[in-house]
Symmetry: C2
């Protein structure tokens, strides 16, 4: 007689307008967690969430209930089991409510529950990563994180890309990309006696490894965790984060930029389609510009401009009186203020900056014919600046070797990587997307600690 | 005039029988890597693979080619660019060939290329993980790995499960699940001075963390890397591997077994549908039983039997004269020979063994009313024995605390986990699937080192 329903199913049914289906469903069974319980005289209201949908179901109970007195005292956070009559309320804010005939407490919530009704600061909630996901903001974030992950996989798989699980533990020492964690089983640095018989690190990028797979599968991508042991406490740096790194063979920088543009637009449309309630929430409570900002990007043509042009335009702006905190000259690594000025004030939309000076970019980027710049492209978007960056890779063995020498790199641990150029190498390109930062961009969340389930930062390892 | 085509597109076109489409395509452009080049007098044949499809395209060239002499000497592994006329050969083994009008070498392959035409042993190929993917076996493995990953995501996402990126670096010391790597930035064990201000490990399981998310989203899963620093050199152990760990709230062991069964069957069907050429290859060259074995499992009803029944049946078998190498008695941790006897000889199909003695199982498994066994279930399949295992989790705070005390566990780093039971805990269950071993099972590959892109094992960290 009682049909088990999730709250998502109930919303879908009620909003579908399917009268036949609706008429056939009268009594329902629900399970979930109490968000609020408001008893009032001979009646009470429970806002119930069962994890399947962003919105709650309203459960109404009265003194017809056998355990009415118990029900009135069910605390926030408790897990309950409800039998009740489904009542359609198409005129009301919620399209249905449940008139409870039975409420059973499956798991009570102790009085010291840290998530009571009132609002809590994000700082406070970071102390309880195992519980904060039960509130609206983090519930929305972490469902969106899941939806966005699937967007990434669907985008690449639908185009025939092969997903590669590049290794987390690596013998490469980071290629200058930043400080690394070591993975070890010994108490000192006698690495000959360590687990692998040599020094081992946690990866900072899967790119070098995935390039090897691009030379077999043409189009490949990684999507997995990466690490930085940098002692920087900013809102945009975490010690552990997830990266998306596609690599495409027989492709140049223009193809790479096309791929970035397609991926960003696909993901924006995907989250709007698959997490509409969550996106509405962010737009209302976190960042009133967020849906407007991302739909604008989705509908834009992404401009392309060389670094050199950008420097010229910035210098012109300075001449016209615009003030930047940091100096502008050819060769400088652009600051966020410069990047934002370019995309917000000059281009007024997303723009790829290309062909950066080789000295401020990584060793594997392809040297342009001018001998000074490399075939790199960073995507700048209004609101944040750099969103992702890529490059065509240096496929010429001798040029690669020369630049590695110039940068003073030890080549022995990267001989295998260099050898990819000797054994049927070809034109290829790829990019890296910081998944957590992309999630921040889509939602307007301002601290990377608030988009990761259990964030890891310097001196902070909660559970 | 020349239309760019991938080899997958060409096969699909030629096998589609679409005459109109076929008639409209005459001249094509291809890029890829030379698998073999067989010049013979005034003509030559190149088997070309471009990474999009398991099978090669045959490129025929003759002395009409401007650079015929160069073409004859193109070495295995080289990257080339081909223009040519598409010739349909519906009667032949390959449904088309390309009559080259132009062949350009994009990247030659040096003479010391370790993958020449002849067969190489898997041992030899393990030394060159950056190159072995270019041969048939590893090409098939790593495409299947990608396809199977997507099967996992599609299975869970289509049912509303939320994907959770549980942390890799953890403060939990492994809960007795095995030896762990430490993640560190210091050269000694003065952990107060270490990056996180305390000892940090690489995770052995995401389960404990994902349970917290099941208490908000009901149905969740992880899919990511896990680590074991065990010094065991077997064909089934790697130091780094990928795990799938779903967790379902308001669910018991029976629900958990239903989920395992559904997932296994879904994945089998998915790889047969989405990697037919690769599966055919495994069946022909790696394990002649592989497709038969997995389709049988797909079509089976998975039996369920308690551990105690299994012990009784094994003891009966011994009485009837069957010999096992290892002793059988109630309380023993079953060996692979026992597990295989049960599913291969007794059940003759997949079987869940349930309700194991608590002393041989993990602390978080729910104690049964008998006080001796726990609500665990391992799935045994013919051919390998255990494929995955799960349990209902202990949701009663006091019972959990008692068993942690019995097992001598330190509770302070797991207080957050225990607290999930105080704050609206509910009946829940989950399981773990070793992704790499599942891939071995599906393909018949016998060494875990041969299904991981860059395998990590004791004293072995290649690149």
């Amino acid at each position: 007689m009682f049909e088990f329903m999730t709250i998502r199913e109930l919303y879908e049914l009620c909003l579908s307008g399917d009268q036949v289906e609706q008429d056939s469903l009268e009594y329902v069974e629900l399970e979930g967690w109490v968000r609020t319980n408001r008893p009032s005289g001979k009646i009470g209201f429970i806002a119930l969430n069962d994890g399947t949908y962003f919105r709650n179901a309203q459960v109404v109970y009265s003194d017809n209930l056998k355990n009415f007195d118990e029900a009135k005292h069910i605390s926030t956070g408790s897990a309950i089991h409800v039998l009740g009559k489904l009542k359609y309320t198409p005129e009301a804010k919620q399209p249905f409510e449940i008139e409870a005939t039975e409420i059973e407490v499956e798991g009570a919530c102790d009085e010291d529950y840290p998530l009571q009704k009132k609002r809590h600061s994000f700082e406070y909630l970071r102390e309880i990563p195992h519980l904060r996901v039960r509130g609206n903001t983090f519930y929305a974030i972490f469902r969106l994180r899941s939806v966005l992950s699937m967007a990434i996989h669907e985008f690449f798989q639908s185009q025939g890309f092969v997903y590669v699980h590049t290794p987390i533990i690596t013998g490469n020492d980071g290629e200058g990309a930043g400080e690394m964690f070591r993975a070890t089983t010994i108490d000192d640095t006698d690495f000959e006696k360590d687990f692998f018989g040599k020094e081992a690190f946690l990866t900072v990028t899967g790119q070098l490894h995935v390039e090897a797979f691009a030379m077999a599968f043409r189009d490949v991508y990684t999507f997995g965790p990466a690490f930085r042991a940098e002692n920087s406490n900013t809102t945009r740096h975490a010690s552990e984060f997830w990266m998306v790194e596609p690599e495409i063979a027989f492709a140049d920088l223009a193809d790479d930029m096309d791929l970035m543009e397609d991926m960003i637009k696909y993901c924006i449309q995907y989250v709007l389609d698959n997490a509409p309630e969550e996106m509405k929430f962010f737009n209302q409570f976190i960042d009133k510009e967020c849906i407007n900002r991302i739909t604008k990007v989705r509908d834009s043509h992404f401009a392309r401009m060389t670094y050199t042009e950008a420097i010229n335009l910035l210098e012109e702006a300075i001449k016209k009186g615009h003030k930047f905190e940091n100096k502008v000259y050819w060769g400088v690594d652009l600051n966020s203020e410069h990047e934002r000025y370019i995309c917000e004030e000059i281009v007024k939309g997303p723009v790829f900056l290309t062909d950066y000076p080789k000295d401020i970019k990584a060793f594997y980027m392809r040297l342009n014919d001018d001998g000074k710049t490399v075939a790199a492209a960073d995507l700048l978007v209004p609101g944040v600046g750099e969103l992702c960056g890529g490059s065509q890779r240096e496929e010429r063995y001798d040029v690669l070797e020369k630049i590695m020498d110039e940068k003073g790199m030890t080549k022995d641990t990267l001989q295998w990587y260099m050898d990819l150029r000797r054994f049927g190498g070809c034109k290829h390109a790829g990019f890296g997307l910081g998944f957590d930062r992309f999630l921040m961009y889509l939602t307007g969340m301002e601290n990377i600690r608030d988009v990761e389930p259990f964030p890891r930062t310097p001196r902070n390892l909660k559970f």
